[in-house]
Symmetry: none
Subunit: 317 residues, 2 copies
DNA sequence: TCAATAGATGAGTAATTGCCCATGAGCAAA
DNA sequence: TTTGCTCATGGGCAATTACTCATCTATTGA
């Protein structure tokens, strides 16, 4: 075409090739013959057009914002897995959307033909999430509950997450026949030495992925509502800088586990090692903003399923 | 999510896959494992995203040849706005390229925070153009159809341009509930006195910009194909020197509106005054060469979006 | 003039993508 | 329940694209 070997000529050609490729939908072979160059050169021009951002691509769909937020969260907090679902500004539900998305992610793990170990937390969000699971046959997998399902008075309580899940997917399941909190580190030591508990502990350490809710703290926190923690103890914790809890493990605003006595009385299974396993937090909503931010900051979780509004907060924070 | 086999769920997935492919640059294999589907399904979703126009691609680089042609056209025909896109020599499409460019220009107007009135013609090219518009919220703007969307038998017909556009950009819209051609000047007089029509007429006169296709004449012209004009009438027109039409207004090879009876039966809204408003023609291709040249010569349009080949013809002419 | 250097080129090859087809699930009508 | 239909699925394979590498070319500075 133009025989002017100017520097921007190459960019012009790149633009032309990029246009033919992305807008007109020609193959690089066709572009090569149209522009009188080799196929390889056409390929280079097309990729140059991309590299130089001459070609702008955008997604015209409501979930575009979610995907972008997810990508930015992933980078900012170095996460293994992020899912951001659209927010429903009118709804006050703390589970709509993320429960479905969480179920999709759990299902993805369950579809594996290789045996996997999934660790499951508890709470309203997790309950709603596993309610979204389809019936499956997963005899090759094992699921283990990270937290106890026993009240202080000995009755089974809390959300019956692990059993519901086992029913639905028909997998071997390992509950934790302990309370969330016990009275002393020594008691925990004793309880954790029970053989059944030791199996669960071992499984927890081996888990390929864990799905956990994120608990906010405060006088209205679920932990108090459900009678696991006295309100005055909660107040002491908050005065000590507690920002949230995951499976009972309390952490401060930097996501560091609190060193006071409380965490030494948590009987839950430790979260699987973050360098090897995915520990995915499922949570959304204003009340959980601070807890989520702290958990992400301290790398307590390395995966996140949340909604767009919460994602915006976490990105701004 | 996965539990509800809704129709738009598939589009959501397509959007997600398309985003991962075109924006995030993942391979379809990666998308497949991210979304927990097979590679083939990922591929289908990606191409669905394209087919459903969820993915908008645009070229953001002034190609020297096109730029130069645009500048010369602007000078030669004293135009307010000219856009020349690269030609695809092999393609027989009459819309590829100019539709995207037209959408960019329309979007530019729509981005204004001050309220604007846009007048819109009809036809295949316009339809393709507004299909390229992204979703927007433009409650401050108004769009008015320059031509009727009613067939002689009373059914709504032709390309449903104004309504599609209103859907996409969410602006107040004013259709023209009339045929393109009516039986007599008197009937037009009566119809134009209907209050709804008068509102549209007033808006048309106030429009800040109009986007119109350029119709060629001949036995295969769209006007005949779509049943608005009998073939024998078309032949009479051509014998009388007609060279093209815009929104139904017939003009000769010098771009002068024909004075015979035909234009007195056109029920379309008159084009906005060229001294104040932009009237931008969107057209390309050999079949439109003559009509375009005439329209430019007679200053029926004062803006042009076309391709390089057509631009070359118009410059040589 | 010549060596050094940067960048472009085409061949060859690996990776990725597009498409056809057989299959089976889901569903409505018979 | 059976039949017929639609549509999503994944395997397989051909087409297309991306990348590597050795070579070539133009430019620059000594």
């Amino acid at each position: 075409m133009a025989r002017r070997p100017e520097t921007n000529n190459r960019l012009d050609d790149a633009a032309r090739a990029g246009w033919l490729y992305y807008v007109a939908g020609r193959t690089q072979d066709e572009i090569a013959s149209i522009m009188g160059i080799s196929r390889q050169s056409a390929q280079r021009l097309v990729s140059l057009a991309m590299a130089e951002r001459l070609i702008k691509v955008r997604l015209d769909h409501p979930i575009a914002g979610c995907l972008e937020a997810a990508a930015r969260l992933k980078e900012k907090y170095e996460l293994k897995h992020v899912d951001v679902v659209p927010s429903d500004p009118g709804s006050s539900s703390t589970t709509v959307g993320i429960a479905e998305a969480g179920a999709v992610e759990i299902e993805r793990w369950l579809k594996s033909t290789d045996p996997v170990v999934l660790a499951i937390g508890t709470g309203r969000t997790l309950k709603a999430t596993i309610d979204q699971l389809p019936s499956m046959e997963c005899p090759q997998h094992r699921i283990v509950s990270l937290t106890g399902n026993i009240r202080l008075d000995g009755s089974a309580a809390y959300y019956n997450v692990i059993f519901s899940m086992a029913d639905t997917i028909n997998a071997r399941h390992f509950p934790m026949p302990l309370p969330v909190l016990v009275s002393s580190p020594e008691e925990r030591e004793v309880l954790h030495n029970q053989s059944l508990v030791k199996i669960a502990l071992k499984l927890g350490a081996e888990a390929n992925a864990a799905f956990v809710g994120v608990g906010e703290l405060g006088p209205d926190a679920p932990l108090c509502e459900d009678g696991f923690l006295a309100r005055e103890e909660m107040e002491r914790l908050m005065a000590a800088g507690a920002a949230g809890e995951i499976c009972g493990w309390m952490f401060d605003h930097d996501g560091e586990l609190l060193t006071g006595s409380i965490n030494e009385r948590v009987a839950s299974i430790p979260l699987p090692p973050r360098d090897r396993a995915s520990v995915i937090g499922i949570a959304k909503g204003k009340r959980k903003y601070e807890a989520l931010r702290a958990a992400l900051k301290g790398r307590i979780i390395n995966g996140l399923i949340t909604d767009e509004t919460t994602a915006d907060f976490l990105l701004g924070a």
